[in-house]
Amino acid sequence: MSKTLHTRRGFLRTSLLGGAVSWTVPVFLERTFFTLDAMASQVPTGKDSPILVVLQLAGGNDGLNTLVPFTDDAYFRARPGIAIREPLKINDALGLNPKLTGLRGLYDDGNLAIVQGVGYPNPNRSHFRSTEIWQTASDADKTDSHGWLGRYFDSCCQGEDPSVGVSIGSQTPQAFAAAEPKGISFSQPEQFRFASEKASDPAAAEEFFRSVNETPSESNEGGSIGMLQGHSEGGGNTMDFLRRTALDAQMSSDKVLAITRKSKAPVTYPSSNLASSLNLVARLIGGGMPTRVYYVGQGGYDTHSNQAGSHERLMSELDSSLAAFVADLKAQGNFQRVVLMTFSEFGRRVAENGSGGTDHGAAAPLFAVGGAIKPGLYGKAPSLTNLHDGDLIHSTDFRSVYASVLQNWLKVPVEPILHRGFPTIGFV
């Protein structure tokens, strides 16, 4: 059992059992407490456990100009203006976008797997709905308020520190949403603390801050908790949610700060938001955070118009950021512990539109990068002539990718998380 767990358990014991546990205790704390004692097994965290990094390419990445079928006439017919003629070949039929030189190198080194034609049945072309489907791993005709990573935290990380999931950014992704939410988010570690030093009595201010943000208040809303259950989104009431967030922030901020202050990247990262995010992830990994899942994002993929230049820039930023991240992890000796997977809510229409861009489509390839990855091409390349409404038909369900990562990398049972089994793919 990890040290952080002791801390959390210790805290909950003192503040709940030591204090007055009454019916006014917020429901989430009560639940946390009971699950702590009911805990049968504990997933190990620490220096050796595997780490998953999820990289969201937001906006719908154009799969066909990422992994290019450069010998297919149908590709050039559909895209007279934006087809890529000279990709970085990986075999006789497919090549990577010319900007993906770093990924091409990783492919040769045996650290890159590409899964082709990933999607789901009855694809939805709304950014928001399709993102939700990917984040919650639901069927297209069902909604689920919890995320696939949230369900992983729920079923496999009970009682662990809130920093078991870390999202770089100011918002928590829906993938982390859970019955018992875990995961912290921040983008600037130096801001991730309560600045009490400016107060006239810093020690008192600090202590005061800790006490009002730690103790479950004897709330005047206590009586209405039951009544509000399931009324506000995500379950529980708003004050419970705020108190939990305050508690998680406070528990994690000392550790995050200590780690990011002492660790420094051994490699130079390019200047982009994505590179900064991955730099921060590498520092947290190197510093020994107990985090199992990191979540980062790169936006701007909604290339409806003048796609050529903008998509090139995105690919270039993605490639250089990933290259620096991999070099960093290798220098740390942590590359073997990390798998990074990309995803985007959908690919784009096969045919270009009248604005030199592409509209929303369906299936697309995704990347998995890591020291322990089994390299190569997986899944079947989708046909460019047998289309559905102008879109590619998926050959691999995205939940097969999730299932592979859960079962073969994080080593946890799939069904409690994805609600049913999916065939796994051999890339991890």
Binding site: G59, F209, N213, F241, A249, S253, G357
Partner: protein, 453 residues
């Protein structure tokens, strides 16, 4: 449903709730004055506060020609010179944008027409466009004015004007959409996010509607809407089962007549002003009211602000403040101007006006709060208080023994007793010197309780 609030329930706390939600809160004196008007008087005074534009001279961005002086220099320039001029242009655009943002935030802070500004904020999140793609401060100002004109008026008029604002035309690629090669971006979001909601149209409706919106262009002289007839597809379209030679305005008319449009918007308006999950019955009642008024947003808000449901225990003090609400309300409560670094604060907290994260606007609710933004709010309130000239003697008299008056100013609700006794103990231990009073206010703001309204 939606019966008016009973007279005895119109308390100072109810008046404070109304001012917080319809506007951006205020001082105890402003709350008392609103309360004295009675419910109907209070609602009317908020929704019919009159035109405040005299108080706010136009921002510099309100000049269409500002980019021309750069463009005129382009012909005959080398690639290198051109790049230099483009950099100058970008720098000026950034300054104009900062000025525009500050102009609008100050309008929220000082305007007597608070309900209109709050509604403009709602509609900005609804018809979301971002300077990051639009790249033209004048267009962002134009759209802001369009939203202000119709904020409390008829939705259909607003929708037609918004579709012809250069900001939207650029943001969702209408300017590139032409007959034979329509761009679907606007047509899709119009139905999915702006009017009907997912599941209430078909992919074919989108493709057909996209044809109706072809030919929308920007007049480069006055930077306003221009219909390029040769690019417009005036053929017969089939939308929602209707056939006709529809224009873009016709499509908006068809949508506005669909009962689902009133339902979709009424729910969204309730969620913004009242609470997250209205019951299906409440949504129907609101939609019926909106429909009957001809989608008149001011009329719907009048009904909402008078209704019993709006003052219910699951509504009052159950909303997480948006970053803009949090900042403007803080300044109004503490009777201080907005801090100079408001832009940076709002960016970090996740609500940069004129730069929503995507076409869906801001998610709102719990999405405002993460471990990072919560700590940032705590720290930022301290910075704002230190940087402002707060008149602490007026807010907490030096001889004060209790925190009640201060708690009313900040929370407008009785505090949980445990929290209250902690604040009183702090006051007792640290005295009522200026520094201690400053710290106390900051600590009161550094609580989960201060994040809700």
């Amino acid at each position: 449903m939606l019966e008016p609030l009973a007279k005895p329930a119109w308390t100072p706390a109810a008046a404070a709730h109304l001012l917080n939600r319809a506007g951006f809160g205020g001082t105890p004196e402003e709350i008392a004055a609103l309360h004295a008007k009675g419910l109907d008087g209070a609602v009317d005074s908020l929704l019919h506060a009159g035109d405040d534009s005299d108080l706010f001279p136009l921002p510099e961005a309100a000049v269409p020609e500002y980019m021309d002086k750069y463009r005129r220099r382009f012909p005959g320039m080398s690639e290198q010179e051109r790049r230099k001029v483009q950099n100058e242009m970008r720098r000026e655009a950034r300054q104009l944008m900062d000025g525009l943002r500050s102009w609008w935030l100050n309008r929220m802070r000082w305007s007597p027409s608070v309900a209109r500004e709050k509604a403009v904020l709602f509609w900005h999140g609804h018809w979301a466009t971002s300077i990051d793609k639009v790249k033209d401060p004048f267009a962002m100002w134009q759209q802001n004015e369009t939203l202000r004109t119709h904020a409390l008026g008829r939705f259909e008029d607003m929708a037609k004007d918004v579709s012809r604002d250069p900001a939207m035309m650029r943001y969702l690629d209408l300017v590139q959409s032409k007959s034979g090669k329509p761009n679907e971006n606007f047509a899709r979001e119009l139905m999915e996010l702006f009017t009907l909601g997912e599941g209430h149209y078909t992919e074919r409706d989108i493709q057909q509607a996209a044809r109706a919106f072809t030919g929308y262009r920007i007049n480069q002289t006055n930077r306003r809407f221009l219909m390029a007839g040769s690019q417009h597809d005036d053929g017969v379209k089939s939308i929602f089962g209707f056939e006709g030679n529809f224009s873009g305005d016709d499509v908006i008319g068809l949508i506005a007549a669909d009962p689902q449009c009133a339902r979709f918007l009424a729910r969204k308006i309730w969620r913004f002003y009242a609470a997250e999950n209205p019951s299906p019955e409440l949504v129907e009642a609101l939609a019926e009211c909106y429909r009957r008024s001809g989608l008149d947003t001011g009329a719907l808000l009048g009904t909402i602000f008078r209704s019993r449901e709006f003052y219910g225990p699951d509504v009052v003090r159950h909303q997480i403040k948006s970053p803009v609400q949090w900042l403007v309300q803080l300044c109004r409560q503490m009777e201080i101007p907005l801090p100079g670094q408001s832009d940076g604060i709002l960016r970090q907290l996740g609500q940069m006006p004129f730069a929503p994260p995507n076409v869906k606007g801001w998610d709102g609710g719990r999405a405002w709060i993460s471990s990072a933004t919560l700590l940032l709010r705590y720290n930022t309130s301290g910075t704002v208080l230190s940087g402002a000239n707060v008149n602490f003697d007026a807010l907490i008299p030096a001889d004060t023994k209790s925190c009640d008056a201060l708690a009313w100013r900040l929370f407008q609700a009785p505090l949980p007793s445990e929290l209250n006794s902690k604040f009183s103990a702090y006051l007792k231990d640290h005295g009522t010197g200026l520094a201690a009073r400053h710290d106390l206010v900051h600590l009161m703001m550094s609580t989960p309780d201060y994040q809700i309204t």
